[in-house]
Amino acid sequence: MSEQARILIQEFFSGRIDRRQLLTRAAAAGVSVSALGAMMTTPWQAMGAAAQDGGATGDLVIAASGDVDTLDPQVSQLLLYGNMLRRTVFNTLVNYAADLTYVGELAESWENPDDTTWIFNLRPDVTFHNGDPFTAEDRGRRSILLRARCREGDSLSSRLTNVESYEVIDDRTISVKLAEIQADFLDGLTQISIISEAIAADIENNPIGSGPFRFVEWVPNDHISLEANPDYFIDGQPGVATLRFNILPEPQVSITNLKSGDVQGVLSIPVTQSTILEDDDSVNVINVATSSIPLFEMLGQNNETIRTNARVRQALAMCLDKNAIQQTVYAGGGIPKWSFVGTESWAYNDLPGYDYDPEAARAILEEEGAAGLEFTVLSIQGYPDGEQAATIWQAGLAEAGVKLNIELQELSVWLDNYLNHTYDVIWNTFPGFADPNYFVSLGLQPHLTDGWTNTEAAELAVSANQTLDQAARKEQYDRLQELFVEELPIMVIQETPVVSVTAPNVQNWGINSLSWVLLNDVTIDAE
């Protein structure tokens, strides 16, 4: 108790929390008021350098381009939510290492004694921000994982639909039985935030996790603020005392805020707007290659010719000047490619694809009786890379005698058309992912049940995720990628870089190849 109480009192004396907060936190941590009172009377300098122990000093303000939609980690699907809350306030059982292999976070270790059973050994020294201990089950009722998906509507609960049963072996051990073999089971767990049981019903207002930062407040459309969790179980994390995200939708305004010192970091800005900052000593540009892929989905309901004729799709692909896109949209960054799998992944199959050749495309289209084709591509307002890629494609298609119309739609309208497949061709972008099945289940499956009639691909899509041996899996994904590039149900454009900008005194700002911005190690030097 003394350690917690000491930190609380230090926070109180340093003005970071007021008296009321001190008392409620102390109560939550099980420190009695009298004990607190006794400690309050000791000179606070005598209590040692607890604040330095954590190393969490400094206030970091970061510009984010949008707001979160909800505080509930099991509902929000936004990349921004991941950056601002999922990986700061919450923990997962399993997380990614830098090379995207799996490491334990709340699980210390795991084993799978047979193909469908996973046993997790949990970390012993973890408490939630409200003081609740982290254990395998809550009062014998629900396992931690079951609790995490307690509500039916929660979108992320689909990651656990294959779970047949949970068995709590003891406080520190949980066993999960799957209905079928599922190769990407661990991968799914990286998205399931573990929450405290006491607030599960109120998670929308009170996001209590066990992560390096504690939630302080959310003013929608304005800011989210977090503070360091002094009890965090990973040494050296967090690196700052407070973390605040200011919502600033306009990238140029974010940059001006950075330059004027109002914020010390910008989560992401368009690559094209970062080139000018490279030579600017007053800011640090962090440009990281990721496996995020923008793409065109080709199998919409609205265009019979494109949907049913793979040769036509190939011809359209020959009109896509990927070099021009790389230069214009991504300032020369990233890697053009045709497969959906990340170029750094164990499963990547480097296929040549189609060279830019509108003349050849014109010939093919004539052969197929599709000369003078006209179609529309839907893209999203506020996503300039979609508009830009489409505009460049439009110019290439014009050379081959094809007329492309571009329609930018509001996100909600675009999403409607995307889900109902009511389009000719639609632009979309997938954030980076570690396991190929992420894309197969989200991107390919909807087409395999609808427009892409290829039984081999449909079988591979299922069987590859029911194979645990990585070499055998790779063989299947190799073949699936071949079919994917040959028949082009979806035309991948390239892998894209992600760019953050920070003030020079901000250190350890991380971006991984999944385009996640990692803030738990970030520190800020006093100036």
Binding site: D67, P220, T256, L419, G443
Partner: protein, 318 residues
């Protein structure tokens, strides 16, 4: 006067009904599904379809639209404005939370406009054809023609980035840090207030010119009053009445401008909230904020009319 106010309030009731139907109908006519917005990419998975359907049911989107409208009116009658579909918070709370920022911005813009237009407009009228007059008229022409967001970004680049005099953007509640709040208010107020300042200056100048030529001013001059006191005591008083009226009527335009200026300056207010809600298809939030904004505008117009009638008794008859 009381009868006048009462009849205006009674007139506002059908207006409110039309507005409520307009906003309710328009936002539902817009394609887009709030349930899908919440599930996002995951909704593409075939196995998630039942979840999507359940979410629509939970959000009350499955009933016919006229029925939804009646439910809404019924709830309104009981003082229930509904919860946001997105974050489940009461829409009235979300709106009221953002209201002070917008009110402050509009107040700042109006204040800027008055401080600039009143002295310059009067001076321009008194010294017609002088340098002051020409500069003022130049400002009027320019102020009416410059797109707001262009002006805003230019001001940020100049005063925040180049000169570093003022913070670039963001809202800090006055109660938290008054100085910081006011510092951040300056640039958005100027950006938003420029159009109003130009409008007011134009009217003030021509009103003033007209008033200065009026009989009673000639009489005052003939009585030997000094020019300064003629202008201050007599002319200004009469020229300011229509200016205040116009300022009141222009509040609606200011609110429209705030929709863009708030976003540009990260000034989290009602305008931004409403636009975001429209884009999110957060129906209840759109309805609540548009309704309240409209009530506010009708109220301000009413006050303007009453004030005008009070200051200018001739108007009351017509």
């Amino acid at each position: 006067m009381a009868r006048f106010a009462l009849s205006r309030i009674l007139q506002a009731i059908p207006t409110m009904f039309i507005v409520s139907m307009l906003v309710f109908g328009l936002i539902r006519m817009a394609p887009g599904d709030p349930a899908a917005m919440q599930m996002g990419r995951e909704a593409a998975k075939p196995e998630n379809l039942p979840r999507l359907e359940a979410l629509r049911e939970e959000m009350g989107l499955t009933k016919p639209i006229p029925v939804q409208y009646l439910y809404w009116i019924q709830d309104l009658a009981q003082g229930d404005f509904g919860d946001s579909l997105k974050n489940k918070r009461p829409t009235i709370d979300l709106f009221l939370q953002k209201l002070p920022a917008t009110l402050e911005l509009i107040l700042g813009a109006t204040l800027f406009a008055l401080l600039l237009s009143v002295p310059l407009g009067i001076l321009a009228a008194v010294r017609r054809g002088s340098m002051v007059d020409r500069v003022s008229m130049g400002f009027v022409s320019a102020g009416l023609a410059v797109p707001g967001f262009w002006l805003g970004l230019t001001l940020i680049l100049l005063f925040s980035v180049r000169l570093k005099w003022l913070p670039a953007s963001g809202y800090v509640p006055f109660s938290e840090d008054p100085i910081e709040n006011l510092k951040r208010l300056i640039l958005p107020s100027i950006t938003l207030g420029t159009y109003l300042a130009a409008t007011l200056m134009r009217f003030l100048r021509s009103d003033m010119i007209q008033v200065l030529g009026a009989d009673y001013i000639r009489t005052a001059r003939a009585k030997g009053l000094r020019e300064k006191s003629v202008i201050m005591r007599h002319a200004m008083k009469n020229a300011l009445v229509p200016v205040l009226t116009i300022a009141g009527l222009e509040i609606g335009a200011l609110l429209g401008g705030a929709v863009i200026i708030e976003q540009l300056f990260g000034w989290s207010g009602v305008g931004w909230l409403t636009v975001q809600a429209i884009f999110d298809r957060d129906y209840p939030l759109v309805q609540t904020s548009v309704l309240f904004v409209t009530i506010g505008l009708i109220f301000v117009n009413l006050l303007t009319d009453i004030a005008y009638g009070f200051l200018n008794p001739r108007m009351r008859v017509s």
